[in-house]
Symmetry: C2
Subunit: 641 residues, 2 copies
């Protein structure tokens, strides 16, 4: 096969690429990072490059403007190599992890670190105190008796003896690393040491031995590793106090927006390693910031608990996710052993432990287990439902007697991705909107009261509901009104939420018919999943006493409006409880209590997975939900426009 030399500037990195391969694949091989949110499908338009020299062929799809075409701009993913090439990557298309500081990468990704106040751990208050305080890593201070001729047991046995006098542990393990240090450490510290104990795969491990009394320095982290957003919390394991919470954009998003695109990318040369690195980078960055802000030494962070869907956990641990995507959809492991964080590339104490919450199946992961754990649904006498709205939506139905879960591929629209002016729930995102029914003028508020930069999930719920009420769109989602904010664009009709003059954005902030279609499909996927699950179990919505709503909506979600657009079932509003990030809350509980860890194992074994696509009624139900709020208005009696 003929090969050509492709050189990327300003990096000046070259690679040999086969004829007809895309410029994007050559860039990946060269280790040059080009932004590509859609994973090379030609739809996101973020991988624009400038051809300086050489012959190519291209697929045109309307994303490149006439003017750009004149200036030699091509989409890297849709342009094929026909000769040696010289390619310039403009700043706007690149994510140069090597050159940028973590903060700069973040800025580039339009990301924002949230302060602790921004993420209210509502769910923590709900279940506060139900599990005994027995953190994943525990410190014990021992004053050992010095050896004598009459008491001459070895150093290691001396420690075991003292530990067993303290508490009867069934099996204690210690690695060679700690044993190697014992002789000097015990004598230098005059036989006064602090042990860090970690629960590890049904045994207790001596993770660390430190001189003196360091019991007051015992910190841990919990994480929710989302496809789009990664959230982390630093805790004082003694006081159970949350010292800080941060959320950051998952750097993996540059390789594709959903788990399927990432699994495909993982199959490419070095793809898995890059995805693994990306999640580690994001987590390590969050950790660095959390410890710095709280004056905590990284060496005093002894453990970490992670929740995430099966694909995210596979990528974190560098496990091949291929078979999650291929029938019959088998992950490598749902229950993972406790590892050292360092084995996964996470920087805490080098001996520190990492535990991942157990998952149920390829599409109902440890984040769902964490959600069930944190909302307490599994303890309820009455029937409850948990709806976790995300790129992969999960719905759990049950009570103390049974638990059944399904997954709905909702897409990232409600996380502000894959829609024209979408953005994450971060600074500058429009989150509340109202529209004047007469003149269609818009009022909005943004997160942090900044100039608007885009619209986040809760903003879209408000926007759709307001457009329906104002009669701007019909039940099918078509724009039928006229006015100064409504215009015809290449991609169909669009409504201008905010003109660029008043925005912190290079373009008007708009919603167009394809966006509405996209959001409609998302809400239809979530709603129909809840409906099918209830029907499958021979139940009905009125029998459900509580509906927990979880997801990355930041601090705001208008339940009323979510029902109005048909995202949530039309049930008395008092049934709904918005619990924010339930996956993070569950990880927090596991970090603080070994009882919660055991309960998570128990729950993951107990939850039955229901595969929606095998239900014969699913496509019908989904089709009927592709209206606002629904084809069958009898199902939404309280909704009137």
């Amino acid at each position: 096969m003929e090969k050509f030399k492709v050189t990327f500037f300003p990096d000046n990195k070259s690679v040999l690429a086969e004829k007809d391969k895309t410029i994007l694949s050559a860039a990946i091989s060269a280790g040059v990072y080009i932004n590509s949110v859609c994973g090379g499908d030609g739809v996101c338009g973020r991988c624009k490059v400038i051809l300086k020299k050489g012959k190519v062929s291209q697929q045109l799809n309307g994303i490149i403007t006439e003017e750009e075409r004149k200036n030699g701009v091509y989409l890297a993913c849709l342009t094929n190599i026909h000769s040696d090439l010289e390619v310039e990557i403009p700043e706007s298309s690149r994510i140069n992890f090597e050159k940028l500081s973590p903060k700069e990468i973040d800025e580039r990704l339009g990301n924002l670190y949230s302060k602790a106040e921004d993420i209210h751990p509502v769910e923590q208050r709900i279940k506060e105190g139900i599990f005994k305080h027995s953190p994943f890593a525990t410190k014990i201070y021992l004053e050992l008796s010095a050896p004598t001729l009459n008491d001459s047991i070895s150093d290691l046995e001396r420690i075991y003896r003292a530990l067993r006098a303290y508490e009867e542990f069934p099996v204690i393990q210690t690695g060679l690393f700690n044993i190697r240090q014992l002789g000097e450490l015990l004598r230098d510290s005059e036989w006064k040491v602090t042990l860090t104990l970690g629960k590890r795969n049904d045994t207790v491990e001596i993770v660390l031995v430190e001189p003196g009394d360091t019991t007051n320095k015992n910190f841990g982290l919990c994480f929710d590793i989302g496809t789009t957003t990664i959230s982390g919390q630093l805790l004082d394991l003694n006081s159970k106090k949350i010292l800080g919470t941060k959320a950051a954009y998952n750097q993996q998003a540059t390789f594709g927006n959903d788990v399927i695109t990432r699994i495909v990318y993982a199959g490419q040369s070095q793809g898995l390693e890059r995805l693994h690195q990306a999640v580690c980078n994001t987590m390590n960055q969050i950790i660095r910031e959390l410890v710095a802000e709280n004056n905590v030494d990284l060496n005093d962070v002894n453990c970490i608990v992670c929740s995430g869907n099966a694909t995210m956990i596979h990528l974190l641990l560098n496990l091949d996710p291929t078979h999650i995507r291929k029938a019959p959809y088998i992950p490598t492991a749902n229950f993972l052993p406790v590892l050292r964080a360092a084995e996964a590339g996470i920087n805490i104490n080098p001996r520190g432990l990492l535990s991942c919450l157990p998952g149920v199946s390829s599409y109902v992961g440890g984040d769902t287990t964490a959600g069930v754990l944190s909302c307490g649904l599994y303890q309820s006498d009455k029937l409850c439902m948990l709806i976790d709205i995300g790129t992969n939506g999960e719905i759990v139905l049950g009570n103390k007697d049974f638990l059944v879960a399904c997954a709905a591929s909702a897409g990232p629209a409600f996380e502000g991705s894959g829609v024209t002016s979408g953005m994450r729930a971060s600074s500058g995102a429009i989150q509340k909107i109202s529209i004047n029914k007469t003149n269609f003028e818009v009022k909005y508020s943004t997160i942090g009261d900044k100039k608007p930069r885009g619209i986040c999930g809760s903003g879209y719920i408000d926007l759709l509901s307001s457009m329906l009420e104002a009669g701007i769109i019909d039940k099918g989602g078509k724009i039928k009104a006229e006015g100064r904010r409504i215009r015809q664009a290449e991609t169909g009709k669009e409504f201008v939420v905010c003109f660029k003059e008043e925005a912190d954005s290079p373009a008007d902030i708009v919603i167009n018919e394809p966006d509405i279609e996209n959001l409609k499909r998302s809400k239809a996927a979530i709603y129909s999943a809840t409906a099918i699950l209830v029907k499958h179990m021979g139940l009905s919505f009125p029998e459900i006493s509580k509906i927990f709503i979880a997801g990355g909506f930041g601090t705001y979600l208008d339940i009323e409006k979510a029902v109005k657009i048909g995202l949530l079932p039309d049930q008395p509003r008092s049934k709904f409880i918005f619990i924010g990030n339930s996956a993070l809350a569950g990880a927090n509980q596991v970090l603080l209590s070994n009882q919660a860890m055991l309960m998570a194992d128990n729950l993951a074994s107990k939850i039955t997975y229901f595969e929606l696509s095998v239900d014969p009624g699913y496509m019908d139900e989904y089709g009927q939900a592709l209206f606002f709020p629904h084809t069958d208005l009898g199902k939404f009696p309280s909704v009137k426009f």
Copy 2:
């Protein structure tokens, strides 16, 4: 402190050394290996170097001859640096591990690999079959059902489910390494795999997952790591068959002959690391030879069991042995966790496991535990004794109700070290001797019927006994006869066993009065230890029904003569059972049976350590034993000269 540049040739390696430091210590810092069996005490005479340039001061002790002095020969250990130096190391003084092949190093050390036939596992026959066959590493072949939509548990859970159907293991662990391979491996092998299971610290670990059925390839090693000699065996873990046994000189001997010298050396810069490397080199070399001769793939060697004294085990695992030597004599650990062999630097399958037999105290190690296990003393209704004759001699007294052990620092004389013409029990060693009572002429036989190169332990026992019978030496060990074989040397009178003309040796093979003194102290240390131990327990020799004799005497030990010189107590000869290398035999049993492994733990906890030096009668008893056979002839009624 003034520093001088010392350059060693032919290596051309330089190092900066402080004024007044010895040339030997400079060589150690420079990473140049000079032979130094006595560890720098100035007595072995092996560290001769030639001073080419520079000023030194030296201690004279008669080892350097007048002629050598003229030629600029110095003992590196007794020569102090006073200026920049250029030093030539003659071939005879060097052990250049980097340049020599393992075989050449071995040749240089006067070492010899024994064939399996040379080491008769007498002791294995004794206890054959008392433990259930359940090797340290077990292989299980599984034909898994392929996953379907209705049976969609993860790859790892699928393996666990099949394993639990096979046998109910309490806790199964698997490391990330194996989990990472599962997805591809299971599918490529069409769900037919072989698991290697290892018992590890009260849990079962999946050590390896291999495609297809490889159960017929499961090998293991057992080792006795002696201060002087290291012996290893390769076993087929399925058939329990010993495929080969090899012994080699412990390369550590170049850094000192006994454990105390080595502990001191370990405290020097890089000393511990070098000692650790030396034992690894020796073991890896034995392993390479064993697998090559038996056409076994190193990757099919899944586990290794080691016995050795506390110092040897510390050095193997790179644990600081300092406190073994300092009161109150505390090892870092007597009971060690199961490790990966790779963690200790031993080359078998990279995931393969290493277990060390548990020890009792700093001076009664896992080799003694192995000895007790293999001779079956702990099961006996009647009183038994185990005497393991080595550089560090160990004596165990007991039966099924109690076990008490002590250690006697016998020195390496009976291992053929520290005596003028001594050598290990290997090719060319004189092992049997008789002397004509009239003309003092000598008859001898050597191991392998080669020209004599020196005298080994059993040869010295024969020689002393024959010299006593012929009246060449008196009860005190002084040479009192005259003849062509008896002459006055610088170091006192000596007896020529073999003139160099008929030997494979640059000098006559002799025994001199200091040698006899040395051997006498060794036998006195062993005998008095047995006597004190018996007395301490309120018992007497006639009450003992069996006396097991273990040690590195190769295949030959004349019990009659050992009693005659007063090494062994004067008891009916039928009580004595020579069991060869009992430490290796015990390690063999632990390798083949998990029951034996548990029993070893049990025994190490059960054996009481008795510190000889605290017994007020010990010095008296030792002093009385410094005669052949003993001061009190009433204790040796059968011995007549």
